[in-house]
């Protein structure tokens, strides 16, 4: 598989807030964690041992697990541009919308004659992406039901 766990550890960040509302993060790294339940337990444990040393309010925490690309990949084509997004707007089963973007949507999939830059949803690869997303949940754990719109958009980028 191309994406794998690399040598880098899991990063645990605990956000501390002072009485003025300013925040800073205490960071710790851990190795050998194999489940999200274990990782969350490590986060809670780290927060608990910070508490006697800080007089701030421990308000939130996050964990981050880096994956590395182990397959060699070809240089992207000249026309690739991550600022050109494919924007897919889905409806969830509770009536909300869920928006997802694809960086550097392939130009061949965009109908340039359409003033909104509609994406060709009948293309097999696009249809496969849509089917995958429609079988997913949004960030709140709500099922995604169907695609509403798919079009090209431009957004800012940062240098990688």
């Amino acid at each position: 598989m191309p994406l794998e766990l690399g040598p880098l550890p899991i990063r645990i960040g605990v956000t501390v807030q002072d009485r003025d509302g300013n925040t800073a993060e205490a960071i710790n790294y851990r190795q050998g964690i194999t489940t999200i339940v274990d990782a969350e337990a490590q986060v809670q444990a780290f927060a608990a041992v910070l508490a006697p040393v800080t007089d701030g309010f421990l308000i939130s925490a996050n964990l981050s697990i880096p994956l590395i690309q182990t397959d060699p990949f070809a240089l992207p084509p000249e026309g690739s541009e991550v600022a050109r997004k494919g924007r897919f707007v889905f409806r969830t089963v509770n009536g909300r919308t869920a928006k997802y973007e694809v960086p550097s949507i392939a130009n061949t999939l965009v109908n340039d004659r359409d003033r909104n830059g509609a994406i060709n949803v009948s293309d097999l690869a696009v249809a496969a992406y849509i089917a995958y997303m429609e079988a997913s949940l949004n960030g709140a754990g709500v099922e995604i039901s169907n695609l509403e719109q798919a079009f090209k958009a431009h957004r800012r980028t940062r240098r990688g």
């Binding site: 880098l8 800073a24 006697p52 925490a61 697990i65 600022a83 949507i105 992406y129």
Partner: protein
């Protein structure tokens, strides 16, 4: 809460783009890695950028109030340096260090340093942290430091 799967892409000019989705059902990290690969294959099918990496991330709710935060200030931090016998260092920074920690009372570091003897002694203010670390601090690069000495000192940030 959901685990966020974020994919990172590079275009021809080296610009970095990201996209993400969430997964609430998987617990094993290996399953989440497989899910990241599945998501990556579908996105790569319609993108002409190169998939260069990914991150699994998760927010965790905390609610640990301070007993007395009247002096709290995140610009005042405690820098803990962990050193092994080969002089390899690792560090942990604790924001808004308590003002009543046992800082040195005499000497050139009075008021700003906690001596190694105190930090590793029987009444260490970081006893719970030492138990949690179990003798080893992991560095951001994945290396680890099996420490035999800890030095603590105030770090004042000017931001």
């Amino acid at each position: 809460m959901a685990t966020r799967i974020t994919l990172q892409f590079n275009d021809r000019d080296g610009n970095l783009g990201q996209c993400s989705t969430s997964n609430t059902g998987l617990n094993a990290v290996s399953d989440l890695v497989a899910e990241a690969n599945a998501y990556g294959s579908f996105v790569s099918g319609i993108s002409d950028a190169a998939l260069v990496g990914a991150t699994l991330s998760r927010r965790v709710s905390l609610s640990i109030p301070s007993a007395d935060n009247s002096a709290s200030n995140v610009r005042r931090s405690l820098l803990l340096l962990f050193r092994n016998p080969a002089d390899v260092l690792a560090s942990i920074v604790v924001p808004s260090a308590r003002v009543d920690l046992p800082y040195d009372t005499v000497g050139p570091y009075a008021g700003i340093r906690i001596s190694p003897d105190v930090l590793l002694g029987p009444s260490s203010p970081i006893a719970d942290l030492l138990t949690y670390l179990n003798g080893t601090v992991v560095r951001p690069d994945g290396g680890s430091v099996a420490f035999t000495e800890v030095i603590g000192g105030l770090l004042l940030n000017e931001e």
